[in-house]
Symmetry: C2
Subunit: 416 residues, 2 copies
Amino acid sequence: MCMKTLIELGEEAKKASRYLALASTTEKNHTLKMMSLAILDNVDEILSANQKDLAAAKENNIPETLLDRLILNANRLQEMADGLIQIADLPDPIGVVDGMFKNEAGLTIGKQSVPLGVIGIIYESRPNVTTDAGALCFKSGNAVILRGGKEAIHSNTALVNILQETLNATGFPIACLQLIEDTSRETAREMMRLNRYLDVLIPRGGARLIQTVLETATVPVIETGTGNCHIYIDKDAQLKMATDIIVNAKCSRPSVCNAAETLVIHKDVAAEFLPFIEQALADYHVELRADEKAYQLLKKAIPATKEDWETEFLDFILAIKVVDSLEEAIDHINQYSTGHSEAIVTDNYFSGQRFHREIDSSTVYVNASTRFTDGFEFGFGAEIGISTQKLHARGPMGLAELTSSKYIVFGEGQIR
Amino acid sequence: MCMKTLIELGEEAKKASRYLALASTTEKNHTLKMMSLAILDNVDEILSANQKDLAAAKENNIPETLLDRLILNANRLQEMADGLIQIADLPDPIGVVDGMFKNEAGLTIGKQSVPLGVIGIIYESRPNVTTDAGALCFKSGNAVILRGGKEAIHSNTALVNILQETLNATGFPIACLQLIEDTSRETAREMMRLNRYLDVLIPRGGARLIQTVLETATVPVIETGTGNCHIYIDKDAQLKMATDIIVNAKCSRPSVCNAAETLVIHKDVAAEFLPFIEQALADYHVELRADEKAYQLLKKAIPATKEDWETEFLDFILAIKVVDSLEEAIDHINQYSTGHSEAIVTDNYFSGQRFHREIDSSTVYVNASTRFTDGFEFGFGAEIGISTQKLHARGPMGLAELTSSKYIVFGEGQIR
């Protein structure tokens, strides 16, 4: 089979996006439900493609954690299929008119949500992104060009073939959802500069992927997912709540972006709290990297370097810094944070208010774990990623964040 | 006097933006009103600086239209001062919490508007952009770095000095509003890549400036203002309304981005309408560039080339194309438009609906002139530009479009 060039993929996506932008909610939802059935009808085919990826991965000695992300099984396919149904059941974000009004000249003006057009998604080895991101783009009326990691190419190809067969069966152009089969770096670079066809590019993956995209892309990018998140324990914090939150934020799932990486603690409570927290974290074998003051208060820690303040460990490692004041805590966080999620633990009303106001991150918590920064937890029913930039969208992005708008104006011959 | 480097300007702007983000509405409005008074108190100083720019411009044989944009006089300064008061009187876009809700875990979550941070504005020779854009950024809590054209450097420096004196007097850091005094191209290029300090870059000016910024910038850009706007006269249009709208859209102010550049007309009415429209446009000496069919129906036209369909003339020139159907009109417009503003003139309900739905532009009109695409006409009370991109903002941008958001979350110890 001969692979399509990126230009061909782009041209077809653009055409498909025009069709898709006009599709009714009923047609889109029906197609998503048919896609869900098609996944379940083709479990064997998908799993046998996945076996090829897994065999190649083992041959290439890919690390265990990566391998886990790559594995598909009956359970995971059921989750994929369920995810498609959930997306079908969400309200259509397209066509919503917000605040229609009459202006002084008597024109009726409404701001209507419309699709962005063609969205590019660059991701790594998780095949579930193929169906999740593909379905979210489809529901929001956008054509999508997917570029997954080479480790998952067989799984992704099988999945996209099945989704495209469904598109074809329900009368949509198959170019609504396309996969770049050439997983070379050159093609990825070319994709990042495909301004003529791509309206936006969303990278989903680790810090290195995001950085490469930011440096290379000329297509507008929505930066997602790098989370150097902080928990600050104020002098007026409760010991148990503080411990529960730090243990949850660090240990419940350390590999995700909303996990905490640094604990900042007020000097007045450090001596009492740190030994207790150390003990709670010991159950999870968390390595502690402490500044000088914290180091004195801990049994087993290693000295922190400046690099530790900057690092998203994504592992059972926690940096700890003792501060003299709330102000120092805010300065430290604003300096080193990636602008994802930060939390304060405090009983003091004014400390909470100030933290909310002065911390410059997508999501700022008082007395809760940073682990809640998530489209599902926020009630969006779905998530395409968590934006850490300020333009267009910030924080968890659902279907609404995959839309643009246009003003529709109703006149009766008005001139100016 | 030694000029500050861009890095110094950037660092100071970043610091100032933190202060400004926390300023109260009262403090900001008071400062804007004081700025307005300061402009009026320093008319002589500003006009004498402007005289230097005008003298240099004449020496360099700058064209009359450019000269007109550069000129300041008592009237224009009064308008500038009035503009500052108007911006002071607008609602503060910062701190607005939209749709606060409780999630399943019992967290109270609100999406709050916050400033973008530091905004860069690159513009050409109009000194009024200095106060307008400066004040809009200030009101929306953003520090701003202005880079105006070299033709206006004396006027801009005088204006910024006066605004900074006011900032100082009302207790704000003067770095809330800074001017790049070095108007070299190298410095402009450097500004476009100042990602560490600039959160967004907004170019205001002609197509060439916008294109240079798009090609050079690594800072996120909001593309504004290129308007290759179309009026489509449907077969069910009224002759008088159609003529009024095309004359208004072409002739009321041809140098602006919402002026019409191409007339698309249905073949069924072309023979009746075009001679009438030609006569109406003759009063303004509009040059007509016609496709083959239109050429046959006009007394005095020149044949249109493909380039004419693509050109934003910004002059008394109109391209004319005859089409066989609404569908052909929509295809032509979507192919050549810059996505700014388009209008259909029709009595037919379904034609209007279809035009609204299928035209992919920031603002789509039924039976009104494209000249209404404007922040003031849309009731925003102010305008920073008209976005022709789909990300972040589309169409006229007011104060709300100069904001980002953050989620503020109120918990009581929740963990996940």
